[in-house]
Symmetry: C2
Subunit: 325 residues, 2 copies
């Protein structure tokens, strides 16, 4: 099995889909007339918050781990993440009967650590100030014979993430546009490639929080830009630059990178929660916010929106929904 | 069109489905391995919290209103409710281009009044202490030429509610058991009749809050019992007795009426919110609570659970999820 493809293609995404479908949910597509009225467009939400482990990350992690050689599988995997990627790698590894080591910062939220351990992963801690996390994880990988599962900069990861867009187009037919949240860019790279494979004319938009606009700046400048650690409620968008492998795909597929404010993100989150009854984390609501607050070109009518995840802890949720109660 | 059928049948539910399908969502069925592990069974959630107007009530209201004669439709409809039935009748009437008057108690929550008015319904108030609400609504109906849309004691209403179980069985195949929340009994009557029409052996269970056990008491005694106004977090279960028409159907179809505590309901609600990412109102989580807290007979393996609604206001939700944070 070829587990180090050298580019992302529609075929790679179709292969990913065949590989992962026994292990991931085919998530529902939800529509809402009240959202459509508020947004002035016809919107189809692909609900990856209802995915196993609560986010689309399960798709990429499963595709990567299920592509390993038997020898690699016997050795186990390692990932560094305090977010949804950690839980996805832990769960996908458990499914595959292999060992997972997750490197998290010492100040990671206890709920995330507990959730990751709940999937039988070993959690090791690094000091965010003192340690270079990539070097830290590579050292563990070398010492213990583990294979790294990167969060986005890997074509098998991107291909796995892209499978959600294949399902969306199958369920709803053609669309004018596809809108996804954008952190490191793995979801956008995979989903836009899948969408263009279905219809080369479909218009693809990535969405970032306006204070975490590393991809926007890079897109405008035409090369990868690194920004200081960005403050935003969307904790899945706190990366400082787009990926080396994801960014060229974004340059090729994105019509634009749209920005939304934290207030718009929280408003969209509340709309999705109280009107559509879906718990969506701030990052997961960013693409919906871009549609709700009219950031798309006026001639886009039928639009697919990826709701990327739903992992929020109770205290954070109580705080966010109480702000305007 | 015969709009006053004299009994509930599987055929009536199939007719209802054909009549209402352009106007209601075919809601998704969601599964969760973590719920299954916690419950020790294989559970299929029919997500009526994702229905239009946030609850299964949209099905019955639409079936009733779409069965009216042209003359009745010209006159408009009236309902008395401060809950999900109010919003469903308001929205179904708006869809059908007819007038809706909703009678609510003067102390109804402002959010519910606003939501109902949002669907262009006229809201009139009655005094819960002073007025007999049925007489009050009948007087309005007579005076203004409106047709009453009752909340549950009507075969067209029950047939509409039952369509959710038809869809569930179509999506997941055969089940050992079907579990639904039970307020006035319209949902249970319709859903159990639909289920038995698909497979006469399927075991049907209704679930009540233990402080609101009018149906449980009636089921045990073999006749309708009236209890004092029951205190429970499940506001859709605060009725004092089962319906005159729904109760005989329940007697025929129910294997048992199960009870869950308010604490169990809130725990189930939190599980559904933070693990399955679904906002479910307390009443809507009662059947899930019965499965999660092991109230079913041990030999039930594949079980369908109706999540009946998801209308919770932000302040109530913040309060409920903060209790154990």
């Amino acid at each position: 099995m070829n587990h180090s493809p050298k580019m992302l293609s529609s075929d790679l995404i179709h292969e990913a889909r065949a590989r992962i479908s026994p292990f991931v949910h085919r998530t529902p597509v939800v529509t809402s007339r009240s959202f459509d009225e508020a947004a002035g467009r016809q919107v189809f939400f692909k609900c990856e918050n209802l995915q196993r482990a609560g986010a689309f990350k399960m798709r990429g992690a499963t595709n990567k781990i299920r592509s390993l050689s038997n020898e690699e599988l016997r050795g186990g995997v390692v990932a560094f993440s305090s977010g949804n990627h950690a839980q996805a790698v832990a769960l996908a590894a458990r499914d595959a009967g292999t060992r997972a080591v997750i490197a998290m910062p010492t100040d990671a939220p206890r709920a995330k650590v507990a959730a990751t351990r709940g999937y039988v992963a070993e959690v090791v801690f690094y000091d965010r100030q003192r340690d270079d996390r990539a070097a830290f994880a590579r050292e563990i990988a070398d010492r213990e014979g583990l294979t790294m599962v990167p969060p986005y900069d890997d074509y098998l990861i991107m291909a796995g993430q892209g499978t959600c867009a294949l399902e969306l187009f199958e369920d709803v037919g053609d669309l004018d546009a596809l809108v996804t949240p954008c952190g490191g860019g793995g979801l956008f790279a995979g989903a836009s490639t899948a969408a263009k494979g279905t219809n080369p004319q479909v218009r693809c938009f990535a969405v970032e929080a306006e204070t975490a606009d590393d991809t926007r700046q890079s897109f405008v400048k035409g090369e990868r830009v690194c920004i200081p650690p960005p403050p935003t409620v969307a904790d899945g968008m706190r990366n400082q630059s787009p990926g080396a492998l994801t960014f060229p795909v974004l340059q090729q597929n994105a019509e634009d990178v749209l920005l939304v404010s934290d207030v718009e993100i929280v408003e969209a989150m509340k709309f999705l929660l109280f009107r559509l009854k879906l718990l969506v984390e701030p990052t997961g609501a960013a693409a919906a916010a871009a549609v709700l607050f009219n950031k798309l070109p006026p001639d886009v009518e039928r639009v697919g929106v990826i709701i990327s995840g739903g992992n929020v802890d109770p205290s954070t949720l109580a705080q966010l929904i109480s702000q305007e109660v």
